[in-house]
């Protein structure tokens, strides 16, 4: 069985002494608290978690980037499971500042090969650079795409041409004079 997050935190602290660790709780129902690690030591922590005989977390299931606009940071979340011991999940989080020049974290692809494509996706959509990734380039957006679309402050280009049932921002823009609206909607606008 995977130990409780507090014991795991202590074990990691014993193995990697300089690591800065923090436990982040989640909803009481989900009960998946996370271990926040600082960027400098996350590779060492990951190797410990993978190789330690009581954890053996050899399966990195999911890598996600989350943009916390209010806190000014982008978080990369790793969900780890163990195929050998059939337990999990252990959630690792790494934070990076949102500023594009400083948005870098070490890559965990050398530890778990499965992170390769998912870290590329986090780079593509959030702009987080992963140091040590073998092949960091865009994966979902086309080459030459500028900007990082999943960030919370991304403004999509106003390149729609036909919006028959406009709502919300599109309706505002259509009323302001961009784009075609069908006759019935135009009746409403004129009123």
């Amino acid at each position: 069985m995977i130990p409780a997050i507090e014991q795991l935190c202590e074990a990691v602290r014993a193995a990697v002494p300089d690591a800065v660790l923090e436990i982040i709780p989640s909803t009481p129902a989900a009960a998946q608290p996370a271990l926040l690690v600082d960027g400098a030591h996350v590779v060492a922590v990951a190797k410990y978690l993978r190789d330690d005989p009581s954890c053996r977390l050899d399966f990195c299931s999911c890598v996600t980037g989350v943009d916390y606009l209010a806190k000014g940071s982008i978080e990369v979340v790793y969900h780890l499971y163990s195929v050998a011991l059939k337990h999990g999940p252990v959630v690792l989080k790494v934070r990076a500042p949102r500023d594009l020049d400083q948005c870098r974290v070490p890559s965990l692809t050398p530890v778990w090969r499965g992170c390769e494509f998912q870290e590329r996706e986090a780079f593509d959509l959030y702009g987080v650079k992963f140091d040590g990734h073998p092949d960091l380039r865009r994966i979902l957006m086309w080459d030459g795409f500028q900007d990082f679309p999943m960030r919370k402050d991304y403004v999509p280009p106003a390149d729609y041409e036909w919006e028959p049932t406009p709502h919300d921002e599109v309706l505002k823009r259509a009323k302001a004079g961009g784009g075609i609206m069908p006759p019935s909607a135009a009746v409403e606008v004129k009123k």
């Binding site: 709780p25 989640s26 909803t27 009481p28 129902a29 989900a30 998946q32 996370a34 050899d58 399966f59 990195c60 299931s61 999911c62 996600t64 989350v66 943009d67 979340v77 969900h79 195929v83 059939k86 999940p89 959630v91 778990w112 090969r113 499965g114 992170c115 390769e116 494509f117 998912q118 865009r138 994966i139 979902l140 957006m141 086309w142 679309p149 999943m150």
Partner: protein, 379 residues
Amino acid sequence: MITAPIANMTGKIETQTLEVSIGPQHPSTHGVFRMDVVLDGEIVRALKPVIGYLHRNHEQLAEKMAWLHSMPYTDRLDYFNSMTNNWAYALAVEKLAGIKVPERAEYIRVIMAELSRLQNHASAIGFLLQDCGAWGTPLLYAFREREKILDFFETVSGSRMMCNYLRFGGVRVDLDEPMLAMAREIVAKFPKFLDEFEKLMTTNEVVLARCQRVGILPKELAIAGSISGPVARASGVEYDLRKVDQYGVYGRFEFGVPVGPVGDVYDRYYIRVLEMREALKILQQALRDIPAGPAQAPEVKLRGFKIPAGDGYGRVEGPKGELGFYLVSDGGPKPYRYHVRPPSFINITVLEDMCLGHKVADAIIILGSIDIVLGEVDR
């Protein structure tokens, strides 16, 4: 380039590697998928998958819509198995919000998921054989059976593939007796089809020659590469979420988890056949034991549904692998972050490793044996 004087003098012919783009419009790439291969004659020297042609921005759309409104969009992720996608999302939300699902709804979910698995594996094998060159014969035999399952889905939910059937806390429509009888009939007739299907292919010399010892995935690479589903089990990794997590009521059913010895294309084909037989066992038990009761938890609201703040990860064993949803809630009616962990996307991480040293035709069937669907890869 063959330069004749040098060839005559030294006996050496100069050659060059050729970079070919297979796809995105290709009958055998299972969707809009491109592979940039570097070929030395016919042998693959390097292979890079290029994806993103079907990227529909599902994750960003979900941040702008209420929790329930993403449910029809999850149908369109792995468009072959809409029931499984719905279940993965519903499971993640129920985990995060702490909703308890009534027992009858759990049994209905298992029935739908296993029927989905049957039709997915049947068509996956059919498509694999079509990539091998059997022009549609096994594919259409599989599709004949699949039609019965799709007709059942249409009777229950209204739509053959985009079912939008599960809700948080249960299922949308309860199954009545005629529908259960239809399901029982499908399960009763399926083994006969499976026996005939196997007879056509399992000992067929052409299949054996083309598929054995092609595209071997070693067990350590499968675990390190986060490969899941039949691809991993064919390589010897005994990891099935139905047995490990025991989500839903899977703990009550007796079924086996087939594990393959070698991990080549033939093992990946045969493991799907064996998994279909195990799915039939689960279906027989579920259809026999389904209890009476409500089909949906009554306290879940349809409009204005909110989840307390926090994050959580829920996963199910889809027919293609581990399908997971990572959801972050800020306490409001819309998700703050909604991420899909697609099995096909991660399974193609090792495509290059499996294809190196094989011929182009083998690369095509290795891709077919992973069984990807682009709706899931690109979201």
